[in-house]
Symmetry: C2
Subunit: 268 residues, 2 copies
């Protein structure tokens, strides 16, 4: 039987507020067994960029990463956010190691080609997202070697193209790719944390968590509009992971990284 591992993804809002960060680190440190933390940091990037006089451009809720913004996200994600988490975990006896995808070549990607995006007015536009990476491969073997040494990888949402360029990469995607890359070696539980208790049946009712979503449910909920917006790519990442051998995917609130009471994603 394979050893268990938890891959926990937390959004930017949680790690950018001292109180919620502290509570997250405490919870994460208390989780027994093998684990990996993947974090975001978008709000800090926007704030620091603004302080530097750099405007954040978003299209359809997604950041355009021009050369200047790439510098900002590199500083904020790999520096400020990641290293404070690492130091905070070390203080709690977790042997954390902060990683971008470039470090030990753990996540290789390619620059996203022009992509058709549906605008708010319903028209389609070809968008250049700039220095944004779509992941090609995650190096599960190297991550395994670290984990075997008791190291806890703390992954920041940056990858590289192997030609010297860092690329801004969605943290949910990184969590999903890492979970898949670990699946041949471990019994993997992937937990996506966000601000709600789970996927809600009714966006206005925080207690309307849908306990289980199968692929068939997902199709039905999309069609009925229960699941929409940013929840769609999150669930797509979740199903990708399930298809690639991840044992269990859970969507839950950041103050509940053990996942009880959240939404469990199942193939059937």
């Amino acid at each position: 039987m394979k050893d268990k591992i938890n891959v926990i993804k937390v959004g930017g809002a949680v790690v950018e507020d001292a109180t919620s960060l502290n509570s997250l680190l405490q919870q994460f440190a208390g989780m027994p067994g093998n684990k990996v933390l993947v974090h975001g940091g978008g709000r800090s990037a926007t704030r620091i960029a603004a302080s530097l006089g750099i405007e954040s451009h978003m299209v359809g809720g997604r950041r355009i990463t021009d050369a200047q913004m790439l510098q900002v996200v590199t500083m904020v994600y790999a520096g400020l956010v990641n290293k404070n988490i690492v130091a905070g975990l070390q203080a709690r006896n977790v042997n954390a190691l902060g990683l971008t995808g470039a470090d030990m070549d753990v996540l290789r990607s390619h620059k996203r080609p022009l992509k058709a995006v549906t605008m708010d007015d319903g028209t389609e536009q070809l968008v250049d997202f700039g220095f944004v990476g779509d992941v090609d491969k995650a190096n599960g073997e190297m991550l395994c070697k670290l984990i075997a040494e008791g190291v806890v990888p703390v992954m920041t949402p940056l990858t590289h193209d192997g030609a010297g360029n860092l690329l801004n990469t969605n943290a949910d995607t990184i969590a999903s790719k890492v979970a898949c890359a670990l699946a041949p070696y471990f019994d993997v539980t992937l937990t996506f944390c966000f601000e709600k208790k789970g996927v809600l049946r009714n966006a206005d009712d925080d207690d309307s968590v849908i306990p289980v979503i199968t692929e068939q449910d997902f199709a039905a909920h999309r069609a009925s509009g229960v699941i929409s917006g940013g929840m769609i790519p999150k669930l797509e990442n979740a199903f990708d992971a399930i298809h690639q051998g991840v044992q269990r995917v859970v969507i839950t609130r950041s103050d509940n990284i053990n996942g009880e009471g959240g939404t469990v994603i199942k193939e059937f």
Copy 2:
């Protein structure tokens, strides 16, 4: 016989200019065998801090790291500078891993207590350097495990105190401590690179490199004023390393990291 390793320290100026960085990465990638790179980044930190409206305070040529400046150096050293080096080395088939001292607890330090500093006017003042770390221990064993896997550590000048705080730490000191921590396992050559060909007999003559400096020479050169200013702590770090088992210490120019023609530091 122990396996050889090169610990190369390069200053901020080299890694902050695209042309010299490129040339450094090319040279470093071409070095055969085990290796570690330690880098600075002070100029970028000063520049980014200024863009953020944060003033850099220096006393006796050394930075005062207040809470805001700690955020800036964390972003610049661990993010911008370190990760661009890592991605650049990966593009040259070097399996680089960027590390602060907090990552895998490789460098533990304590916050520097108030320290007496001689001011330009000759008076002594007690100075609070702020979030600056004096290194207590380097984890040679963990670095060795990485190196055995073919990983090339790229170390940024930040350490941690084990209580969750990152601390700004002199890059020469980090290079020296890392070299010492590797000495029980490897035959270590520590190379400090800076803007001159070596330690000069005459500051105005770039070709007046002193080929060898023993401890006795160092005392004499300090007394005569040939060695002064920032060169003194650099040589103190060099002799510390020699005393703790580092086989060979060289001071040379950054475009010559193989060290030929530089100054060799010897105990006797």
